[in-house]
């Protein structure tokens, strides 16, 4: 059970200090999550901290490979406008 950061990450550092498991680390070209350390914050917080502050829709995937914050969920931008 671990989250994953993918290439749309902008390396903004918001998630890194929040991780209770110290699973997030700076890497090039973007930050990464150590899957051995990440427990999706279970036992520490109700919500996964990285996914709760990440400003980029789709940049963090859950254990099933689905975006925790799907397109439009954070910005309220209508999907057809995002696609355009």
């Amino acid at each position: 059970m671990a989250l994953e950061i993918i290439e749309s990450c902008t390396s903004c550092w918001a998630c890194e200090p929040l991780c209770p498991s110290k699973a997030i680390y700076e890497a090039k070209p973007h930050f990464l999550i150590d899957p051995d350390k990440c427990n999706e914050c279970s036992g520490d917080f109700e919500d996964s901290q990285c996914a709760s502050i990440c400003p980029i829709e789709g940049a963090i995937l859950n254990a099933d490979g689905e975006p925790v914050n799907p397109p439009g969920s954070l910005t309220n931008i209508p999907l057809q406008k995002l696609a355009a």
Binding site: S8, T10, S11, C12, W13, A14, P17, L18, F45, E46, D47, Q49, S52, I53, P55, I56, L74, T75, N76, I77, P78, K81, L82, A84
Partner: protein, 502 residues
């Protein structure tokens, strides 16, 4: 490598650049009416003092990438070297790099008196990086003023630390005091380990901003409030915001226009939310000016801007260039002190001259003619407070209002230089159209020269081209043109009637 700049002749006058108005702001908006302890703090701060921004420079370092809220006018993915939206930076710095950059700039541009941390995220959402930078700078460069901008969400918990680092200038962006308005501006905040959305999020943010403002004022830290004017969302509401923040002790309120284009990829950009017109912005700034001092010279700097307001010399100080520089800051500081003393002397003599002038005007004012209507005029200048720019070369116009009360600076309006139309726009026709739009509401445009081609369209738009006052001081020339208009009886008619005739 020794920085060559340290050998610069100290007596050299500060280079003109950035905004070039002779003086910006009405008498009410000058620093002189401020309490002495505030005036002492801001007289050499280019963002807070209209006078100072002609002489002193500022820089921002981008050490704070993280943010704890989302604004509908921001897209965290976007970064473009040609874009001068606030919040957008090209090169993120670690605190040690940032300090090196600051020292290099301060040694090269001795007029640089202020270092701000403004982003690209929220500085107080990156407290370790922000405060580490401030700590090193207050040790190594005590002659640089420190300031910080914030959305205010985590401000109350940081006020104590802010006051320890002797940061006496804080800017809070406050776009609303009503959560229903806020819900249309902020889609979410990160608060107490949760992402909170909608009205609830806006209510928390507003509460924190107001609390932070009160705490800073109680600590004696100067607070400026920035507001982004979003037509149809908070434009009416900002007058109330202005009253409230003033009542709580903010000493400046800066209303800025929303910058919104589809290509920015922001919520507002993609959903067609427009920014205000120049006239709408000015009307709101006027409505708020009764409540509060405004800063019409604000240029909405990038989070990594370097130089005088309105200019950006950031490309001279990229990390690879800075790595090549050896800076002897204690030596540079001596040179800086001399430059600052020379500027302050000039500012002081200008202030005295102005006071003397005001007295003369007041005496003349006793036998004054009747009140005449106010007229807006545009000025093309490249510096020094005089009319010295061709119409076709002007990338921005300074807008002044002349009335029987005198001349006051209203703001600056950017355009594409008419003569460069073919290069930068593709269709030369629309460049003049753009400039005509930018000059809307003005009845004259004063420049060192105006070409034959734009003359007709300017006149047709009710804007009298005027190239007769080249190299004259801006305010003097405007008063002369205003007097000519009075003699010609043009000041009796209402503006809209006049424009209809034209």
């Amino acid at each position: 490598m020794q920085m060559p700049v340290i050998n610069i002749a100290v007596a050299e006058a500060p280079k003109q650049g950035g905004c070039s108005a002779g003086s910006c702001g009405s008498k009410d908006e000058q620093m002189s009416h401020l309490p002495e302890h505030i005036r002492q703090k801001v007289f050499n701060h280019p963002c807070y003092s209209e006078e100072a921004h002609h002489y002193f420079a500022r820089m921002h370092v981008a050490v704070a990438p993280a943010c704890n809220i989302q604004c509908n006018y921001c897209n965290r993915k976007y970064d473009c070297a040609n874009e001068s939206r606030p919040g957008v930076v090209s090169e993120l710095h670690h605190p040690v790099q940032a300090v090196k950059k600051v020292l290099a700039v301060a040694a090269t541009i001795p007029q640089m008196t202020v270092l701000g941390i403004a982003g690209p995220g929220d500085p107080l959402a990156n407290p370790e990086r922000t405060f580490e930078t401030f700590r090193m700078l207050s040790e190594q460069a005590p002659d640089i003023k420190l300031c910080v901008s914030t959305n205010g969400l985590s401000l109350p918990e940081q006020v104590e630390q802010l006051s320890q680092y002797n940061i006496d200038h804080v800017t809070i962006t406050i776009n609303c005091v009503d959560p229903d308005v806020g819900a249309q501006i902020y889609p979410w905040i990160f608060w107490k380990n949760k992402r909170i959305k909608g009205r609830e999020a806006a209510a928390i943010l507003i509460e924190q901003q107001q609390k932070g403002l009160e705490m800073l004022v109680a600590k004696g830290i100067l607070v400026k409030v920035n507001s982004v004017m979003i037509p149809g969302v908070n434009d009416k509401h900002l007058e109330e915001v202005s009253k409230i923040v003033k009542a709580k002790g903010a000493f400046l309120h800066n209303v800025m226009p929303l910058i919104s284009e589809a290509e920015h990829g922001t919520y507002y950009g993609l959903t067609g939310q427009r920014g205000p017109t120049n006239e709408e912005l000015q009307a709101l700034q006027d409505a708020c000016a009764g409540d509060m001092n405004m800063m019409r010279h604000c240029r909405q700097c990038r989070a990594d801007a370097v130089g005088l307001l309105g200019e950006d010399r950031g490309s001279e100080f990229t990390m690879d260039k800075i790595e090549q520089m050896e800076i002897n800051y204690p030596e540079a500081m001596k040179m800086r002190a001399q430059v600052h003393a020379a500027i302050n002397e000039e500012l002081e003599s200008k202030r005295l001259a102005k006071e003397a002038k005001v007295q003369i005007v007041n005496i003349q004012g006793l036998k004054k003619k009747e009140a005449t209507r106010a007229v807006l005029m545009a000025v093309a200048t490249k510096g020094g407070g005089v009319i010295n720019e061709h119409f076709g070369h002007a990338g921005e116009f300074l807008i002044y209002e002349a009335s029987s009360e005198g001349v006051r600076f209203i703001g600056h309006r950017k355009t594409t230089p008419y003569c460069e139309g073919d290069i930068s726009c593709g269709d030369g026709e629309s460049v003049l159209d753009k400039t005509l739009k930018v000059l809307a509401g003005c009845e004259a445009v004063l420049c060192s020269k105006v070409g034959y081609e734009p003359w007709g369209p300017l006149e047709a738009a009710g804007i009298q081209p005027n190239g007769e006052h080249a190299m004259e001081p801006i305010e003097d020339a405007i008063l002369k043109v205003y007097e000519e208009m009075r003699v010609e009886g043009k000041l009796d008619a209402k503006l809209d009637e006049q424009q209809k005739v034209a």
